[in-house]
Subunit: 167 residues, 2 copies
């Protein structure tokens, strides 16, 4: 890994880095996409995305809600769930079922079939492209005549930093 290691490199989620790039670049990209498609990235929705981008963790809806409320938005659950549902629909965020939580998408706009690597020690979440995984699933599905519409692929384990610390 040299200079072509981009801020969107999944390994970065598990390492110290200039996180402002993650936030700024992805947010800008989401705005471009919204302008193109006519999706309405309103203030709550935009703020919700910022909140997710401010960490590489997945945040529960109630965590997001709390921060939205701090920013002057409503403080009832539907406020957070609606904003998050919008982000997921637009592909700006992903839902991590294992954690009942949401994480900003690191590659908005790029068709991708994400896999998530969740560190059980520090709760960091890395999103990695997983085309090979998707192909394997499609193949397995084809064998039983199943047609796949959506997938959740999540792995729990230890990130490099925590694995090091544990040994």
């Amino acid at each position: 890994m040299t200079t072509e290691q981009k801020h969107s490199d999944p390994a970065l989620a598990f390492a110290a880095h200039d996180h402002a790039h993650c936030t700024g670049d992805v947010l800008a990209r989401a705005e471009e996409l919204s302008a193109e498609t006519g999706a309405r990235l309103t203030p709550v929705r935009r703020r919700a995305l910022e909140i997710l981008l401010e960490s590489h963790r997945a945040l529960g809806a109630y965590e997001v809600l709390e921060k939205l409320a701090e920013a002057g938005f409503g403080n009832q659950p539907p406020v957070a769930y609606r904003a998050l549902d919008f982000l997921v629909d637009q592909g700006f965020a992903h839902r991590i079922r294992r954690l009942n939580a949401f994480a900003a998408c690191m590659h908005p706009g790029e068709a991708h079939s994400p896999a998530f690597f969740i560190c059980r020690a520090c709760d960091a979440v890395a999103e990695a492209p997983a085309e090979a995984v998707r192909r394997a699933m499609e193949a397995a599905a084809a064998r039983i005549g199943f047609s796949v519409e959506r997938m959740n692929v999540e792995a729990l384990g230890l990130c490099p930093t925590c694995a090091e610390a544990a040994s």
Copy 2:
């Protein structure tokens, strides 16, 4: 597919079949395994497994609880969660996070890395071996230095029967 199509063929979950075989064979296998390992397949736990085996759907903990209560066991949530946790620990059941539900394992004892195919129309759940998926995940994990301990691989879509009906 000819006569070597076993009751454990994942496609069967989506087709009419002699379901007593699923129930009986898998339950017997679970008992063998428990005897071998010393795991205590007590009456509640055994009944919970039977309940899961009685359908190819994934059942919520409260659904299982209701049926356990009908069988004379306690009717408070921990009764169901404890039995289900035991079954999952022993590899006799799997947790389907997308549905907040549990399904009996169709291949207890065989080391396997299951993938689940969930029909969004009829709620049937098929468990298929997915070694290729696991390998792809391990490879992706290795690239970012992540060590995988557990995985959830779930696909939502249409089973052959429902796809047919919808077209």
